[in-house]
Symmetry: C2
Subunit: 410 residues, 2 copies
């Protein structure tokens, strides 16, 4: 099998990063429907959070200086001049030598700058015995300590997690502009491939596994999937379907075509969709060498190998990156890979990146990666695995006990 | 503040595991809607995958023994007796001394037991020159090598990932029985708490952040949320709302009530819902000590601290575990925690577990955890964080460079 533009894994990632740009079409959503979407605007806060100084404990609001020197053996004495109610404005001003009862979350009265914990004082008929000194600001969240008025809250390109929605709620922002979901098209190819709901296979046929696995991977990453069906190994049918789908989606994925003849016309179809055309024809990787990546008039087109497990490995590595680039999400430093120790020696050819399916096991707080055996095409090996360990192209293998990166299957 | 049944983190986990049992109510779903659901039945395969021996390469199907001794310098010679077509039954039987062309994925003809790669032979007008010997089974996936007929495919309690859906598709199973989604009820409490869509706060009020964060965490874990609103710090209102919600859901969560008075009646309300009642009243943890866990007639009831960040930390640690127990998912060995090296010394009180928010940074392939500063109540610290590192209760802190477990915020 001849590949005319074979790239390393690192080069493939670089080419994707260079050529794929965010879609940047936006929708406005209420924040309680925005979980997982990518923010399309910078957001600043119109107000301070909290909007007033709050106590973090149950106790007495005081002037810190009035407690200086107070201790168990030499308590200080303050006059209890009132009580703060939750959710209400603190009325009255705290004068020198005074204290006011305050519950957790209550608003500090004017004049006070600290709170003595209730465990550290004793109210004797309005005379507060203070057994512990406090510093200014102690047991207090200052006005604006969480969010300052006018401060940048969130930046464009942030994927919205529960806490980002929480901080928007905190400042009363109830609607935001996000990037719309990415629409990916998916086509299976192969004369032997039949719809997965086929009850009885004829001899020589296999059901379409890749439709299910690749569609699910796209949905897991927040994308929508348009399924174009299975096209047979006929050039005209394939070209027609590819062109039709290409017009409807942001990203076209197809799988199959690992035999020479099929691969040849898959290449021709992908190459004919637009400029600049095929950028990668073969990746020096195992499994998944027969991978094709093209850009046609700004849209990515991705040809996956036909073997179900290889197709998943390649999609995890590169397809998810393409989806992230299209989504407008700024590169995150969130690990989809962890470090684990490999449980046995594994050889590898230098010049090629190897991805070995593994089952993870926790041993005394360390993750160990146990290789799962079986040929690279078998979907059952994916079912048995928690992730795949990476042996990068410059290595000749890894040794038992060595720390290796493992890309997680969620 | 008095807690009458304080438990360690480890004890809390043990109590949850002991007292929470799966809901086990099922629904039948088509597999393309089942991503993320938990399988409610063991699934066996009615057929073998693949249903026939397949070639993994383009080449010639042969009897391996006919190639023994073949090499570049001393090729073997075989008669080309036919061609296998993709997706069709291989007709005819391969006789001694014969070879048939076969594409990747094609069905091996009867009589053959291996495939010679096309790169290792040459067809000269029907006479195949073979330059490489092959062993029996070489370049072949045997019938049933991926899945054997009658074999166990998936077991009850498996959360369905793309690959599990793929293997179901492979054997033609299009519908499966899964456990229904968990319905969680959520109530906010506090006189100072107002709905997050409140435009203008009165002095002393704060918006309801926890509704947004906790609901989102529940949804992320595949649960449904019923929001019961905000109840004020009045015992009767609170009791009535809690009883009403408790009847409608599988799991009741409430937050707020960190001041002594509020905590007292939150405790009373939670304790009154059913037997055995409150099992945990206080966890020796920072942040989040004022955590309450009860079981009322088999249903978990969970009282979170009021501070938004503390509520999230506690829900990540224990609420997600409760949801997983209810969901029927068998315990997974999938890491929601990774190992990372801490970037500075952190002290900790022994006897208490500490959870420190961190930002992760990749340095030469290792994850480093940089502590995020700020008081534990601040939601902004959660926004700045990728996860939280754990200092378990027996430790007095961690040293710069030490490997620590980090629980990831997705």
């Amino acid at each position: 099998m001849k590949f005319f533009n074979v790239k390393s894994v690192e080069e493939t990632i670089q080419i994707i990063n260079q050529h794929i740009h965010p879609i940047r079409e936006t929708v406005v959503l209420p924040i309680d429907e925005a979980l997982g979407f990518v923010l399309a605007e910078d957001v600043a806060s119109g107000e301070a959070v909290p909007g007033f100084a709050r106590s973090t404990v149950d106790g007495y609001a005081v002037k810190a200086k009035d407690t200086f020197g107070s201790s168990e053996s030499l308590p200080g004495f303050l006059q209890v001049s009132g009580e703060i109610k939750m959710g209400e404005e603190a009325r009255g001003i705290l004068m020198d030598g005074e204290a006011m009862y305050i519950p957790t979350g209550g608003m500090l009265p004017a004049g006070s700058d600290a709170v003595v914990m209730i465990e550290h004082c004793e109210n004797l008929d309005g005379l507060l015995n203070v057994y512990h000194q406090v510093a200014p600001g102690e047991n207090v969240i200052r006005k604006g300590e969480d969010v300052q008025e006018g401060a940048s809250l969130l930046v464009r390109g942030t994927r919205l997690r529960p806490q980002e929605l929480g901080i928007l709620a905190a400042v009363g922002i109830t609607e935001i502009t996000v990037y719309r979901k990415i629409r990916a098209g998916y086509i299976s190819t192969g004369d032997e491939v039949v719809p997965y709901h086929t009850k009885q296979l004829a001899v020589g046929q296999v059901r379409d596994i890749n439709q299910m696995t690749i569609s699910s991977l796209i949905r897991e990453k927040g994308g929508e999937v348009l399924f174009g069906g299975i096209v047979n190994d006929r050039y005209d049918d394939f070209l027609e379907k590819a062109q039709e789908m290409y017009g409807k989606v942001d990203f076209l994925v197809m799988s199959g075509g690992s035999s020479v003849g099929t691969l040849d016309f898959t290449t021709e179809v992908i190459g004919s969709l637009g400029k600049p055309g095929i950028l990668i024809h073969g990746v020096s990787i195992k499994p998944g060498k027969p991978t094709i990546f093209a850009v046609a008039d700004g849209k990515p087109v991705f040809g996956l190998p036909g073997h179900p497990a290889s197709a998943m490995v390649i999609f995890k590595l590169f397809g998810e990156l393409i989806l992230q680039r299209l989504s407008g999400e700024k590169s995150s430093n969130f690990p989809n890979r962890i470090q684990a120790r490999v449980s046995k020696n594994l050889p590898s050819d230098p010049g090629r990146s190897d991805y070995i399916r593994v089952r993870l096991e926790s041993r005394e707080g360390e993750w160990w990666a146990n290789p799962v055996l079986g040929k690279s095409g078998l979907i059952s090996t994916m079912v048995m695995s928690d992730g795949m360990l990476e042996i990068s192209s410059e290595k000749e293998g890894v040794l038992e006990g060595e720390w290796v990166p493992v890309i997680l299957f969620r």
